[in-house]
């Protein structure tokens, strides 16, 4: 697995994947003794297949941002819901 990460890092560091000849990439993968399926996933540019072959869990969420207003609006909605609930309960009680 470490071999695959090192290869992905090296490919990222190099100027442009399009500058890799297929032969060069195949040679690098063969030197790392990667399985045929792994080599195929890399050549196909298929991260999902590669992830699955390596037994890695995909990310559930790639978002690390939340608009503050989004949350406060939800709170406001909750508050107004509660108010509505309270009013209707009051109405029933009356």
């Amino acid at each position: 697995m470490s071999n695959v990460i090192q290869l992905l890092e090296r490919l990222g560091e190099e100027a442009n994947l399009s500058e890799h000849t297929l032969e060069n990439l195949q040679k690098q993968m063969a030197n790392l003794e990667l399985s045929e399926l792994t080599q195929e996933a890399i050549l196909q540019g298929d991260p999902q297949a590669l992830e699955s072959l390596l037994g890695l869990s995909p990310n559930l969420c790639n978002i690390v941002h939340q608009d503050d207003d989004e949350e406060s609006d939800d709170n406001e909605e909750d508050t107004s819901d509660n108010n509505e609930q309270a009013s209707s309960q009051q109405a029933i009680a009356m």
Partner: protein
Amino acid sequence: MNKKGSLTCVGTGITLGAHLTPNARNHITQADIVFSAMNSSFGRLWLTEMNSNVHDLQQYYQKGKPRSETYQKMVAVMLDAVRDGNKVVGAFYGHPGIFATPPHTAIAIAKQEGYLAQMLPGISADDCLLADCGIDPGKNGCASFEANQFIRYHRPIDNSAYLILWQVGILGDSGHQFSTSEPYKQLLVEVLHQNYPLHHEIILYEAPTLAIESPRITPITLAEFAQTPTSQITTMLIPPCTQMQKNAGIQAKLAQLDRIYRHK
């Protein structure tokens, strides 16, 4: 005098191996503990090659759990490690200060508590978008909004400039889900249609997380957006549909100033 313990939030860039700055790499390798929020499982493993003590923040996400709670937990675990006197690094994919809530919050609290805290920039998705789509924001101007905020509020649009909308793949999400659906996307079309024709060509963009992938640049019309598949990392780029309007009054005043000051 700062207390023992520090927090540095670094950006690891978008494409594994391609974007990490030497400065960020040094912080990662020298940290006592690294908290990671990476854009792929490969990214998480990559960090463990640089530092053996990596704590994955991804574990705090759960379907149905409000993301605000997840972010509070992320902040809490990073700050606990700082308070324990550790040299802490928060490694966030892209730029740690762009569309990233926990790094800003954690750094602000750490500073308030007297710890050394800083943010180091990284290559963000908009950097990749500008490069891959060949856009210079200086040419026509460029506005950028988070898509949910954009539809929830009245935002003035200048349709003679580029418009970038982030997180269009989670439209309508109130913090509990991680995807969207056609009716929510149609709402965005409705809002945009107030300023753009339905046949206007827009671009859906996704930056490559690995060097074995290519950028996804999908040109569609605005009308096609609701039916077009999107993911959590899809960004919408809307090119201008009108020409910039000259401000004749100001241009006349500029000419007048030039006559006074440039001929002295």
